[in-house]
Point group: C2
């Protein structure tokens, strides 16, 4: 008879348990608060907001919180190099607009969302809820998922804390 | 007698195995190639390098590859907002200089390194080897560890790939 104790110590089974544990963690368990501005905000003020809030991306929304664009440090840096007057330029000019924005839902598994971040080479994903808006489907911004959230979760899991995410 | 099969399915033990597996992965297993410039490079050219190489930070080295500074997108953006002439300003003026730079070794566990990234709120760590240089200890830059490396590893582990890191 084969031994029944210690079976799960083989690499394959540890890996599959690891996969199972990670797949239970949802975006909502680790997401951060979103930082939002309006499309008419100047690029300069958008950058000031980025520094004050210490975020790498800000989301552009319509009054009802509906996502219309994303601006990152990288986007701004590109424009700043060109010598434009950032006080006069609205973020609308350089933002990545919908529907080009890659988003995630709070109910997505953190693994699916992390894969989106890697595959699309972005620093963060807006966490959104589907909203009815002007008779079309639209996304309401309710959070922000960043590589920092993923790295922090990795540290928690590696240190054996993170059990709180497994509900 | 208590059952001997299925014991490891309890949360606590899965977590400790997960911790053990993660602790075996070293920085060298996931690090990227570093992007380096010299201290006299203009801020403008440093940003061009960042865009061409698609990195968020570049490392400033002396000719022997010895680390002297780090410049990030965030550092450059701050200066660009101030209206300075980025063509005339050398990166030396705005870089974070040694010994203030948080570094990691290729032999460090990925968990230790990820914790440094989170605790020090940086986007990347220069991966360094200790070198004898001008009769003082110095760091030679041999790699770059980013939040992207951590997020990619997380995805690999979550998908049950990543076994290649466990040697």
């Amino acid at each position: 008879a084969r031994p029944k104790v210690g079976y799960y110590y083989t690499g394959k089974n540890v890996m599959s348990m690891l996969t199972e544990q990670i797949s239970r963690i949802k975006v909502r368990d680790v997401q951060s608060v979103p930082v939002v501005i309006t499309a008419s905000t100047s690029v300069y003020d958008a950058v000031v907001t980025m520094f004050l809030e210490d975020v790498g991306s800000v989301y552009i929304v319509e009054p009802a919180g509906i996502l219309t664009g994303v601006v990152s440090r990288k986007d701004v840096l590109k424009v700043a190099m060109g010598g434009s007057d950032l006080h006069k330029m609205p973020v609308k000019v350089l933002m990545t607009p919908m529907p080009k924005i890659v988003v995630t839902s709070p109910d997505d598994s953190i693994l699916t969302a992390a894969k989106k971040i890697i595959d699309n080479e972005v620093d963060s994903l807006p966490v959104v809820a589907i909203a009815d808006h002007q008779e079309t489907k639209a996304y309401e911004v309710i959070g922000r998922l960043t590589k920092t959230n993923i790295a922090r979760l990795f540290v928690e899991l590696g240190e054996g804390r993170g059990g709180e995410h497994y509900s």
